[in-house]
Symmetry: C2
Subunit: 324 residues, 2 copies
Amino acid sequence: MYSIPELQQILDKAVTSYQYPNQPQELYEPVSYLLGLGGKRLRPALLLMAVDAFGGNVLQATKPALAIEFFHNFTLMHDDIMDKAPLRRGKPTVHAKWNDAVAILSGDIMLIDAYKLISQVEASILPQVLSLFNTTAQEVCEGQQFDMNFEKEASVSIANYLNMIRLKTAVLLGGALKTGALIAHASTSNQNLIYNFGVNLGIAFQLQDDILDVYGDPEKFGKQIGGDIISNKKTFLLIKALELAKGSDQNLLISLLENKSIKAESKVEQVTNLYDKLSIKNIAEEAMLDFANRAIESLNAIAIPEDKKSVLKDFATQLIQREH
Amino acid sequence: MYSIPELQQILDKAVTSYQYPNQPQELYEPVSYLLGLGGKRLRPALLLMAVDAFGGNVLQATKPALAIEFFHNFTLMHDDIMDKAPLRRGKPTVHAKWNDAVAILSGDIMLIDAYKLISQVEASILPQVLSLFNTTAQEVCEGQQFDMNFEKEASVSIANYLNMIRLKTAVLLGGALKTGALIAHASTSNQNLIYNFGVNLGIAFQLQDDILDVYGDPEKFGKQIGGDIISNKKTFLLIKALELAKGSDQNLLISLLENKSIKAESKVEQVTNLYDKLSIKNIAEEAMLDFANRAIESLNAIAIPEDKKSVLKDFATQLIQREH
């Protein structure tokens, strides 16, 4: 079995040695720039982990794994334009470094490159792999649209929020894993179980993100604590607090959200105090663990020897216990 | 054999009856809006013409034909953002009617929809169809990038211009026809011949566009005559004039291009006079006819009965003799 760092190394090498056409360089330079900013290559690593777990050839699966990485970076490049984000992994985003037109067209070519890469699986599984890739890609775009809609909506339900993060974040983890299962000719039942493992893990991952944004250790988190509170982002925590707060708590929460002149530090402190009063951290952790447990249940049900699942199980544990 | 109007009717019906998901409507409404603006459906009609010419089942090929139409409209939606175009087919562009974020994400979903549609060809030809689709999509993006680059470049050669319009416009015509040939199980030789027919026809088509923009009949053209001249667009005509003009003609042409206070009407008149003096119209028509003849030669070489080629031949003739 390959360890996660070994898989990340294989993927970093595959990204670095990917051959772009020479011309037009204005199109391909931003692609190479964004992919070169690094990142943990978690999504393509999941594909390779699944290939490995089901006894496939990991080194022959780097192209479909790269397809997942290209797709993920395509969504980052376009989402950053839509979100007007200045930074990505601490460096200027593509639209900030070049301009919107460059980021649109280079994003388009990354999506097409992703399709070129995924198309290189063997012909016998191409229809299934492609159909999964299409569905996943569509769902990720739908998730992004729901996320943008939520910014403008007065109230969002927990169910709609969970559906949004399932689409925007979780299905790509499930899709990467199931693609690996398809490549390794896993049974249909095992394909579906590993998909469910990935989707539930992805939802747990995002909920953990929401929690860390408020309750993370500032030394380890790497981002400003309370960023979501400052920007009124409708996370699980805020949606739950809006649902539970009554009377004076409700009034205070709404006034904090509407107050545009309040200092960031004071807003974070007061909202966090309200969260504490309403036990929001516990509720969010319970929800997170619920999805994590569902993921583990699916993993347990996969009909392969336990030692083949060890890397996936370690990965899941790390993702949920992480502090950044 | 189906006539072109019959094919257009089949395609209009297929576009109208295409089922979008209900949610999120912000994502799918702009797709339906843009596709609903009409257009001649020429590119998907070419796919169906090729299916028909090679004895395939036209009515079973509407999904891959729609894939071509979705892909083409994806490029329109994103190009219109990059070009800051306010109108498309006389109506507000998607980014103008909604905003850039909507046009980016709805364009993305159209490209993914195109892949969903093209993926539905029979499995035996899927690898070839998909590979052609990927290559064509990549080339169209490269063409758009070259086109944007040319705006900023002081001088563009005729060879580079022809390569740009081949990529941006012509390969999609060739790709649509070759996809139809693949669906109808045409021979490799016939596939390549119809591809070359389409590419050369596409270049002729774009050159005819360049000519009509200056020399079209204002009553029939439907757009403002001289629009390319007003915007200093590097068309075949302008590039050729810059190449041929010497002495005082050269100075006049450059001063007209650099003069920002000149009235549009006067600029169009003076540049057109220079074009006339340099016989630019004849040179452009010769180039256009050269590509049209190459297209017809490829069509003639296709090993099927002549009567099967009649619709394609009529189509080519109409495209070249058109006045709008």
